[in-house]
Subunit: 151 residues, 2 copies
Amino acid sequence: MNDRAGDDSAPATEQPVRFPIDGGCFGCSPSNPNGLGLTFRRRGDVIVADYTFGERFHGAPGIVHGGIIAAALDEISCAAAVFVRDVPVVTGELTVRYRHPCPVETPLTLSARVAGEHSRYLIVEADVSQGDKRLAHSSGKFFLTSTPTAP
Amino acid sequence: MNDRAGDDSAPATEQPVRFPIDGGCFGCSPSNPNGLGLTFRRRGDVIVADYTFGERFHGAPGIVHGGIIAAALDEISCAAAVFVRDVPVVTGELTVRYRHPCPVETPLTLSARVAGEHSRYLIVEADVSQGDKRLAHSSGKFFLTSTPTAP
C-alpha cells in the first residue's frame, strides 16, 4: 500500500496558494517572526511545501523538535482541507509517527492530501520527506466548522 | 475510566526538576527565546507544569496552534520518562485529541505520567487543562534510547 501523501498522480503544473487573510498564525503567517512561515503550493489534489526548519526549532541537538514537526503537519493538513476541499476546519485529532529524525537547517518537503471524508470531518494525511525518504507521517481528523478560521 | 494524566493519588509535596544540560531545546530551554521555555515539577509520579502560551503561538485568533499544543504535550511526556523513570527517550508516535480550544495568554496546566511500559517503549499520557477542564489529551509511544538526548 502506498500511503505517501504526495504520491498521487499529480499533474506537472503547480500553483501557489495562500490564505486570504494574514492573522499572524504560528504555522503560516508571513508576519509572525516567531512562527514557521510555511507557504504552500497546490499540485493536483496535493498541497506541498518546501521548508527548512531553523536551528531555533530543535529538540535534541540538530534534530527538529517532534512537536514542531507536528505543528508543520497540522498546518499543511489544514491547508489541504481549505485549498483542495474549500472548507474551513479545526483539528480534532492528530497522530504523528516519527520514522527518522528530521534534521534542522536541511531542505525538506511537506505534503498533504485529503484521504477520507465523513459527515463531520475529513481525514487528512501528511508527510515530511527528505528527497525520497519519508521522515514523518501524520493522519488526522479535521472537523468541518461553519466559522472560517482566519490563519 | 479516569485517564487524566494528573489524577494519580499525588502527595502534597512537589519538587522542581530540570534537565542538567541546557542545549537550547524548543520545548524546555531557558535560553531559547523562541521556544516554550517549559519548566517542570514532579508530584509523585506525575510531572506538572504551569504555562501561559503567548500570543505569538496562536493559530486561529486567540487560540493556541494545535501543533504548539502537541509540542508542549510531547515535551512534558519526555520529561515524565526522564524524571520519573530515569530513562532517555525519543518520541516514536504521538496522538493528540483536541477537546476544546486552548486560549492564549491564559494560565493553563500541563501534566504527564507514564501509563504503560513495553520492552522497547513507554506509553506516556499527558493533558492540557484549564482548572478542572481538560482541553487536550495525548498518548504517545516513547522509545528507549541508549543515547541521552540533551534537551
